[in-house]
Symmetry: C2
Subunit: 457 residues, 2 copies
Amino acid sequence: MKKHLLLIVFPLLFTSSIFAQDKDSIMFRTIANEILLHGKCYSYLDYLCNKIGGRLTGSPQAAAAVEYTYQLMESIGADTVFKQECMVPHWVRGEKEKAIVLTTLSGDYPVNICALGRSVATPPGGITAKVVEVHSFEELRKIGKLGVEGKIVFFNQPFDETEIQTFAAYGKAVFQRHSGPSMAAKYGAVGAIVRSMANALDDFPHTGAMEYVDSFPKVPCCAISTIGAELLSKQLKNDPGTRFHFEMSCQTLPDEKSYNVVGEIRGTEHPDEYITIGGHLDSWDLAQGAHDDGAGIVQTLEVMRTFKALGIKPKRTIRFVMFMNEENGTRGAMKYAELVKKNHENQIAAIESDAGGFSPRGFGLGGSTEKKNKILAWKNLFLPYGVYDFLGSEGGTDISPLKDLGAFQLGLEPDSQRYFDYHHTAADTFDKVNKRELELGAASVAMMTYMLSEYGL
Amino acid sequence: MKKHLLLIVFPLLFTSSIFAQDKDSIMFRTIANEILLHGKCYSYLDYLCNKIGGRLTGSPQAAAAVEYTYQLMESIGADTVFKQECMVPHWVRGEKEKAIVLTTLSGDYPVNICALGRSVATPPGGITAKVVEVHSFEELRKIGKLGVEGKIVFFNQPFDETEIQTFAAYGKAVFQRHSGPSMAAKYGAVGAIVRSMANALDDFPHTGAMEYVDSFPKVPCCAISTIGAELLSKQLKNDPGTRFHFEMSCQTLPDEKSYNVVGEIRGTEHPDEYITIGGHLDSWDLAQGAHDDGAGIVQTLEVMRTFKALGIKPKRTIRFVMFMNEENGTRGAMKYAELVKKNHENQIAAIESDAGGFSPRGFGLGGSTEKKNKILAWKNLFLPYGVYDFLGSEGGTDISPLKDLGAFQLGLEPDSQRYFDYHHTAADTFDKVNKRELELGAASVAMMTYMLSEYGL
């Protein structure tokens, strides 16, 4: 009898699972069609980039972006829209930076630089010193105080081009930008130059956050373009007496009041289970922050618009979050997590889109194997949309404080090849974003959000 | 005993297959590293685009490209390099085309057009006529001679944006460009306008081949940009008396002598089994033919360079072919197949790269299920390089005449989202190609070529 029972129950289970997959597959198609035919994210991004512009934390543009997305979520028809106040760092770049390579053998020439975020300024009139080139902290340690004191340290470790995912190359090189200046200061350097975090050889300097260690003097630090870095390196080999002069007037002003912007569609069956999806509203100041992270912001808004347009009533509550200050402080992310904890919210999962508005390829999955496997069972549903790669484990900076609060981490993974052509540079502009690629990314996040809200974890 | 024998043989088979996969996986990594660190395809493309330019069949630039790639294959060190003479069509665009929308209610305004390839010219001074807009041949048939005679037919069926692969949308819309003019003439039209084959709304008219049917008059036909098409359509709704004026001076000159350029690396074990890989050397004239198909050409050259640089001695013979005249005649492809047949060559497989220099995603596989399955067994080797999709069946226009001669068809499938932003327009320039994306495509073709040459089919 038992055997017969199994024979009856198994096909039923199988049928019901097939039925659910069919239903979900139809929903995926409906979501994709809605976004590809009636999507608004591209025009939202146009506004954010061309009408508001770069949204450095503390800037008037960041404030304008808060108002814009608040009003947009209201007009899309979120059940609730609210702001979460947080105090944010207020670093400003000041005048356009200047740098000159002073040779002993040939003529002097200017190079393209920009201050790294959070750097101190040079003294008025700038800094001029000899340059010592290194490729690792180990190399710096070996050269030591004797070789470094009074000089400018030039961190020139390029991206590892053999990494297929460019984020892996970034991960291996970014120590120079993040901790290089203080490491240089530890050995008595008067300043630091960092090779831009990029694959391409071009003349865009890439800014980005660095962090001073309190125990060492704060020395000014700039990024040099990859072409500039190659030139300087060659120059130093030919002419070791070469000096570098640079002037920067950036400064850190007192903290400012700012906000995360949060919209909500309440769940119909499990309103106390939350799924947070989002990107970051702030950007660097050199351009429009189109890929980083205007794309993530407008994709999040597109998911909300799509749920409303299609009349999808999620079983679980979806939180749409425009995080403030990812680039130089993550204060918004910390504030959001603080309130989640305070309010004892059951955040079951969080999705971040902060890797550019390119063709989607997959999702990073961070959390227990059991939950991973639940999501991997949905894999075939995503495949027709070019989303096949679930091997990564990265969620995103803004949602990472939610990990310890129980939220499974998901990160949208678009094609990464072009990302570091634009990242943190003057080239990160609206025209670099393809409408359909942006929309397909939004569709992928909408599909994943739908599955999480429908089935939980 | 038999059972025991199986127990012994099976693990051995298993081990040897694992061993082969390991060896191949190391070779894949070696190929990728070589191309990502020392690749030359990007600089080849720079030359082809910026030093030679658009390579319309019969043009001096097409001839220059023949010489350039011939010399390049010699300098890379092919065992043999030779040209295959073929007579090719010689269509020329003439003066920049002009078009004006003549309204009855408001002012007249110019719109951006270009002649379709192989179109006849307008009479001197142009054609001016009322316009009838259609979206299918069925609609045209219903309107019939009474509604069409003496008018210009405007084919305005847009791309189906719900197709995830843009080539599928192209496949559904391209009938208008290819056969529209003769269908219009069948009902007495004096000319035709075709909406550009594109996803994006922009102001680039897209040229491309059309074909006249001998039984109908040859009427001049132009492509209008997608923005122009939307404008014209709106105009016709508001003001049905609107007329369209256009002037084109294109003409078809007598056939010219041209060439395929073919390089060979002879196989060490099965020299009489051939694997053909290639792209097409000609392009349209409006720009540099960077994605279409400079990319395919330089990737083919990169595969040759990589085999030589790494000292890979293929077991089977590899033919590297720069096909002439894919765009408006495929005479090169026909010549190549003719010679394959004449020389009784055993062409086991052919790979074409003619879908742009974007991030690779897969290969179309066309041929028997048995051979497909053999290739699918290699799938996991490709996955770390983002190449996961083997569901398509398209090879490519240039290799398709080899199908009947027994060659299994493979087509490199890059990400398709941006392709029709550039395809056959003035925007198909070198700066639209990303170095790493181009290189990863070359690496994928090199890996597939390696597997085919190593294991056959």
